[in-house]
Symmetry: C2
Subunit: 633 residues, 2 copies
């Protein structure tokens, strides 16, 4: 199987009639399918628990478990809950029967260790269904998933006579059910592709949800000249968008042309799946990191290891931009010095610049500085300051082998160093995913005392940005991050570094905190910050689960680096976004206002963030006094 | 001091100028006041942390702690945060100064171990203030309370020029602050009485809030003929309503007539406080139980102790109603038997009735039965069935001493008993605060097999009722109920029996579940129930923190008992309401819809409730599968 988008094509087939499950499984496997969706009970075997002909009917309601091996049941069969089961029916007898039958089928699905079961929703009245499923999810062991099946959009497409047309928002049906089930992590979604295409806003919203499968009814396929099933251009493009989430597919319904067989659908969908542009370097790098939470680095407190240095040194963009910025800064210095008297302005002499690299690591910025100086044929004295003694060994080796006298390696914390002279340019790369979150402001404030008046800091300014997002996946990841012996709120009050994947970012980022160096304010200007950001929610109801954080830095003049999505420095992989969770998902009505407050606070020994949503309703302050998460100074 | 409404009158005096705190405390004590509210820093001692004349001013910002004894500081002084402290000012320098000064004053208040501090709100922009107070509450130890001072209603009454007139809802200011502080239990309220009177809806809403004091500015007093300060009739009535919450008072401002002295205000307020109708028996009984959470009894699982029996037997209403119901049932039997043939209808003969008391306890219902029989001069055979062997001893003693042969004492569980004959009337008192929550339906279902056809059950029907309420106090009580080694959600998924006190019930009760005996349905009819209740919220925004549960029972025909507030059986104290908490308070906009779903579910060995709010937004199912709370069968 081809390895495209990081995941091979996986597809199931959804049978309505399964006269012989053994035969069905064999033929599906031969046609290439990975799994089979089959009713848990025989469609004819409707049970009646109060009265009616089936009340005392003996015999089996489902196929016996000995028909397949345990391995087959637990890996190849998705069980479908009977569609006549309607626990929220307005008819009391139907409700009673449905509840009994549903519990019977759930129990049998559990007995068979099926990997997943599907439950179809027909409208927004789901309270009793939710209660039964929630009990099941909370008591059943193992990894069985409950997949809720809803149409992609609620336009009646012929066979949808059952649908509740009063509530035409399948996302709302799903949201009610999963909210009542407190976002249980074993709840997933099967989206039925409809003849009508959903709008972009509707598609976007599904991206925050735990989609497991896209189900393609055979009725939406067209027939090409050769008689094979194909999708319309619109359906293809939509499918490709969803395939990026690495979901599975399901083909449901009868073959339109029995001579072609179900294999023709499989092959076509596989073709659509594979027919996407190959991964670029950035996509290859991030593959496997999707929605994986990382505790933010604490480079001031902890020493990075060699591998971490190695990975980040490979960034194809960051050091090129730094070199460009250093080049321009040196050039400006040369040009302005030509117009000034010798020794003017307290700077070092023409053609002789002192550059200090603060936090030199294993030397990439020293190299960039030397390359820039070489391009300009200007004389440099470079100081490489590094607090990690292990990295200093590499620096000293580089000095001995390559750099020689023009570089001085200093093994110290930049905040404590007493420099022999002042710098014309200081270069640092202390930025975290949220800009200031690795304490660049505090470190550079401490280092400003050894910058010449009129000297340059690279970077000269950086700002953080925030966007609200919805992600059932990340909400669950944070909830699962709970550590024994620690307060359960801790993970909800910790910003995580994460490559956002199964996420719906629903408003453009707004600027949060900014820092400039040299700091133009008075000496007492604090690095504490506060801001209240107001977002407009999208044109459809959604659920706010957290805020995505980015940064943008001006290295020098027009040389910038950015992780803000629409201006992301192409190919730069050194920073994933940061994510500020919320303790509880917040329901956001269409086109309403979201107010969120962010603080950057500090004490003598640490820095932390606090945050709080106050509109559409108030979330409670997160991380007060840094109780769950701080960054050590 | 008089002991009225369960609490003596307690009043403080609020000084603006305190030239000498020692003198002030002494004179306040002499005038009768219990505590003194005084600025933490000297009003003239405004600090400037950025620049300005005060920047480098030396000396003290507050009175030295040696001025009073530790005992005086910690019991008699309420510290007022300086009114010029505005951390949410639009002016950056003011914000910066305010934050520094606020932290300084908080730190000093903590140093002095003041019992409480007050912070005045001037509008709805409170984010930065909330953040600082929340940090303080989360880090400071001890019992110090933070009292937020807001006007009762936001009409500008002369000296309110500072108030933010754009946001004229002081409840909203408070709600924003305390919600950001996650309903911290050490946050309280001081309500400033205003010249204008709030509407009833506005007053009602405050009743769900943790009010500590009512503050009376001297300016709202009138002068009576003798020259003494008095309140208008409207202010008096309002004050009396609030005094029921057992709050303290504060007199603030200058004496209008210096010859009378501040003592005249104290005496007048004390007079208003004491001038309330004396407590009736019911009020005396419930005193001390206000908002005190009790785990519901499990009389099927646990045996009640003698004291519990003794308390409940004293109910002046319950057994009178039972006697009345038994009387009417016996009378009906006699009358209908007159019209039928001897031995007709399978019942026992005329003038001879078999009455079974199911769960006889220490005998009150046996006594009521015998009294009713005696009044009618009808012959009775009474069976007293009781499963608690300790209570059976009392019953046997009563039989030996008083009752004789007409009573048979049976020591057994009513669900297992094999009776020697069938009953004409069965009498039971198995109802809990929520009607069916002590498993009356299950017990009586089990006992119906020994009721004659056409026989009577007393009670014959009962229904539970629910009302939504708001109570910051109860939310905190439930949160504090958390037990070590158990899941923190457990208390939020447990219905508690509680005498509701500091609570705002904001919608009329709706009927929830009903049960009839004998059960008219088929044998398979389940005692499981489900209902979705829809309430209209009041005309002002509020916060939903839980549901209050009541019951109403038809004992026989028109003889009923009820704990539903507007029809509460007068003087009956056997049942407090039950309370179903919510995991998180839910903000409810004025005149919106509240949907809540309730389930009564059962397994072979237990019964439990589940509940979930779905409007205005979805709360998540509470107590799924009885994970936190069940009633054992």
């Amino acid at each position: 199987m081809a390895d495209n988008q990081g995941r091979r094509f996986s597809c199931g087939i959804d049978f309505f009639h399964v006269p012989d499950l053994r035969v069905a499984v064999t033929s599906a496997t031969e046609a290439g399918f990975d799994f089979v969706c089959t009713p848990i009970s025989h469609p004819r075997c409707k049970r009646e628990f109060i009265e009616g002909p089936a009340r005392n009917r003996g015999g089996l309601f489902a196929v016996p478990d000995a028909l397949l091996s345990g391995q087959e049941w637990s890996s190849s069969i998705v069980g479908k809950i009977s569609p006549w089961i309607l626990p929220d029916s307005v008819d009391e007898a139907t409700r009673y029967n449905s509840e009994k039958a549903l519990n019977q089928e759930l129990s049998y699905a559990s007995h068979l260790s099926l990997p997943a079961i599907t439950v179809q929703l027909n409208g927004g009245s789901v309270a009793r269904l939710a209660s039964i499923l929630n009990s099941y999810l909370n008591t059943s062991l193992g990894h069985q998933q409950v997949w809720i099946q809803v149409p992609l959009c609620a336009t009646n497409n012929g066979n949808d006579a059952v649908r509740d047309t009063a509530l035409e928002d399948p996302w709302g049906w799903w949201n009610t059910l999963r909210s009542m089930c407190s976002f249980h992590k074993r709840l997933g979604l099967v989206l039925e592709v409809t003849q009508a295409l959903p709008t972009d806003v509707e598609i976007d919203r599904w991206f925050g949800e735990p989609i497991k499968c896209l189900s393609f009814p055979t009725s939406i396929f067209r027939t090409n000249k050769k008689g094979y099933p194909v999708l319309s251009r619109g359906h293809q493009e939509m499918a490709k968008r969803f395939f990026k989430l690495r979901i599975q597919s399901i083909v449901s319904g009868n073959c339109q042309d029995p001579t072609k067989g179900s294999n023709s659908y499989f092959q076509y969908l596989e073709h659509v799946h594979e027919n996407q542009p190959p991964l670029d370097d950035y996509q290859k790098f991030v593959r496997g990191y999707g929605d994986y939470l990382q505790w933010p680095l604490q480079p001031l407190m902890d020493n990075l290891d060699s591998q971490t240095y190695e990975v980040f040194e490979k960034d194809p963009v960051k050091y090129a931009r730094y070199e460009e910025a250093i080049y321009l800064a040196l050039l400006d210095r040369i040009e302005s010095n030509h117009n000034e008297t010798y020794y003017g302005n307290g700077n070092n002499s023409i053609g002789f610049s002192v550059v200090m690299v603060l936090g030199a690591g294993r030397g990439p910025l020293v190299k960039a500085t030397l390359r820039a100086g070489y391009s300009l044929q200007t004389k440099l004295t470079v100081y490489a300051i590094e607090k990690n003694p292990n990295a200093v060994i590499t620096l000293q080796n580089l000095k001995a082998v390559e750099w020689g006298d023009q570089v001085t390696v200093v093994s110290t914390d930049m905040r404590e160093w007493e420099p022999p002279c002042k710098a014309d340019i200081i270069v640092s790369e202390l930025l975290g995913s949220f800009g200031d979150n690795e304490l660049s402001p505090e470190c550079l404030d401490g280092a400003m005392k050894y910058l010449n008046e009129g000297g340059i800091s690279i970077p000269s300014k950086y700002s953080s940005y925030l966007s609200p997002f919805s992600s059932s996946k990340l909400y669950n990841e944070v909830r699962d991050c709970r550590e024994k012996d620690r307060h359960p709120l801790i993970s909800f009050e910790t910003p995580f570094v994460v490559h956002l994947h199964n996420v719906h970012i629903f408003s453009d980022p707004l600027e949060c905190f900014s820092f400039s160096h040299p700091n133009s304010g008075s000496g007492s200007r604090s690095n504490d910050r506060y801001i209240c950001l107001t977002y407009q929610s999208p044109s459809k109801d959604t659920v706010l689960t957290g805020f995505a954080g980015y940064f943008e830095a001006i290295l020098y003049k027009n040389v910038t680096i950015s992780t803000v999505p629409e201006r992301h420095s192409e190919g730069m992989f050194s920073w994933f976004p940061i994510m500020f969770p919320l303790r509880e998902p917040i329901y956001v009505k269409a086109e309403s206002r979201i107010d969120v407050h962010f603080w950057r606070k500090s004490s003598a020994s640490k820095v932390w963030y606090e945050w709080c949503v106050t509109n559409p309703y108030i979330s409670g302050l997160h991380n007060p006094n840094g109780r769950s998460y701080t960054i050590g100074l």
